[in-house]
């Protein structure tokens, strides 16, 4: 495929590796391959997917994060600018032709979106929602607690992030399943699967509902992230409807599958390490924060992002040409032995944990406080109510490929049954919807400071 090299450009693309993170065996080979990257080539060229750079070292990723205008996140879906391909390698079939929100934009446009959304997602903003999150998790556990059996993915970790994300957006909670199916299946279904047609259909239904939501909040304003985007103006101009839908789809994609993946992996690990689970439960006041950051580091649900080099430049000692594609591997950087002693070991009290699970630089995950809070509240309720859970390795289903999200489809577990504490999920969602509507829970922290009052 490649034309004979007459420019000397190929000599620039060194050292060379074969890196295919979409291959089914990648998950099993991750640690071995990551060690190779760190020992031989923290920045290398791979011929896969049209050819791209792979940055695996923490130092290299920090250099890219600080490269400013030399790197672009732009996804030029209509060929209006420089034809850049955004943050995915390769570009996904799902949602083709739609820019991935502000994650596929550059400043100053990107900054306008983030400034509009930050007051809904800051630590102070998310803290107000804790009683709401607790109530969703309580209802999920109540649905299963009498039976002694749960699928941590289907019955808990899929539901709480989905319901809470919709609440923050200002979308009716009862629609969570309409959004849940495409948000997860769209990530784990391989392109060749016969299931793909159904997944694409579900994805289109979700995008239609997002478009409807934008029209609704314009006609009858109600607080939330959708309202913030509907009112967004950049230099006095309203963004295109397509870009707003892309931004809301990004919030769904970021809010749903990532936290589910983190929770499933953490619970699976705790089931395999019951002594550590007991220690975490007992010392939760000191360990909950460090354990959460360690699970984020070790499992890195979103393994990386791509960038496009926007001008000829030198970064981390390597020459780049405009148009080069770069994969920033947050997951591999999180195992960099120069930053993390004993990097392949989970240490729940790890100090100096400067992990990159949320990325680095101006595109750092805008929902990091949501992810941490939802994860911690689910984990605490599991430790409080079903502390002796045992996950079933036979029934555990990992994503077939983890190129996009390092997630699980199923994580069944058994435990000693316990008493219910309140109503089931359907009734709880009705109660919570009333709380959202009556208290304006989805207002930004600049408007509402008070904590949610539930029951």
């Amino acid at each position: 495929m490649t034309a004979p090299d007459t420019s000397g450009d190929e000599t620039r693309k060194q050292p060379r590796v074969h890196f295919d993170r979409h291959a089914p065996q990648y998950r099993d080979r991750f640690e071995e391959q990551t060690r190779e990257f760190h020992s031989r080539c923290p920045l290398a060229w791979s011929d896969t997917y049209g050819g791209h750079w792979v940055a695996a070292g923490n130092r290299e990723l920090l250099a890219f994060a600080r490269a400013g205008q030399a790197l672009s996140n732009d996804h030029d879906v209509h060929g209006e600018r420089r034809g850049y391909q955004g943050i995915s390698i390769p570009a996904p079939e799902r949602g083709k032709g739609l820019r991935g929100g502000f994650l596929e934009m550059d400043p100053p446009e990107q900054r306008a979106y983030r400034n509009a959304l930050n007051p809904y997602l800051s630590p102070a903003a998310v803290k107000r929602w804790i009683p709401f999150i607790d109530e969703v998790a309580r209802a999920c556990l109540d649905e299963r607690i009498g039976s002694g059996r749960i699928d941590f993915v289907d019955d808990l970790a899929n539901i709480v992030p989905a319901v809470f994300t919709l609440a923050m957006m200002g979308i009716p909670l009862k629609k969570w399943e309409l959004y849940n199916e495409p948000a997860h299946a769209g990530v784990y279904t391989p392109p060749h699967s016969p299931e793909m047609a159904r997944v694409v259909k579900a994805h289109m239904a979700m995008l239609r509902d997002i478009a409807t939501t934008l029209q609704e909040v314009r006609a009858h304003p109600r607080p939330g992230l959708a309202d913030a985007l509907a009112r967004l103006e950049i230099d006095g101009r309203t963004p295109s409807e397509e870009d707003l839908i892309g931004a809301l789809a990004l919030l769904i994609g970021g809010g749903f599958d990532t936290t589910t993946a983190l929770t499933a992996h953490a619970l699976d690990w705790l089931s395999r390490h019951p002594d550590e689970r007991t220690r975490l439960n007992h010392d939760r006041d000191t360990l909950l924060d460090t354990a959460t950051e360690e699970f984020l580091r070790y499992f890195t649900p979103a393994p990386g992002d791509a960038r496009t080099v926007a001008e000829d430049c030198v970064i981390a000692g390597t020459d780049f040409k405009e148009g080069d594609r770069v994969w920033l591997s947050w997951a591999m950087a999180n195992r960099d032995p120069q930053v993390f002693p004993d990097p392949d070991r989970v240490d729940l009290s790890r100090a100096g944990n400067r992990h990159t699970a949320f990325g680095l630089g101006i595109h750092r995950c805008i929902g990091s406080n949501v992810a941490r809070t939802v994860f911690k509240r689910m984990l605490l309720q599991v430790l409080d109510r079903i502390p002796d859970f045992v996950c079933d390795p036979e029934g555990t289903v990992h994503y077939e490929t983890i190129g996009v999200i390092q997630g699980m489809r199923h994580l069944p577990a058994t435990f000693t049954p316990g008493p219910r504490l309140g109503p089931g999920l359907a009734e709880t969602l009705e109660t919570l919807q009333r709380a959202c509507d009556e208290q304006g829970l989805a207002e930004p922290v600049t408007v509402r400071k008070a904590e949610a009052k539930i029951r």
Binding site: S122, R354, H355
Partner: protein
């Protein structure tokens, strides 16, 4: 010991405030960090050194 947070580098990861909540305060709006005071209380020095080691953006400096 004195401490500063580079506002250009800070991206609101919030790890410093987890480690040294008495020294770093987070913006209500975007979670970006700034020191409550440039002067670090003696009993907080270890926590601040740990916060420096925890910052993914390497935005915190002590002097």
């Amino acid at each position: 010991m004195k401490v500063r947070v580079d506002p250009e580098r800070c991206q609101g990861h919030t790890l410093c405030a987890m480690r040294a909540p008495e020294v770093f305060e987070l913006s209500e709006i975007d979670g970006h960090s700034s020191p409550v005071s440039e002067d670090v209380p003696t009993d907080q020095e270890d926590a601040v050194v740990e916060a420096v080691r925890s910052c993914p953006e390497r935005a915190i400096g002590v002097f």
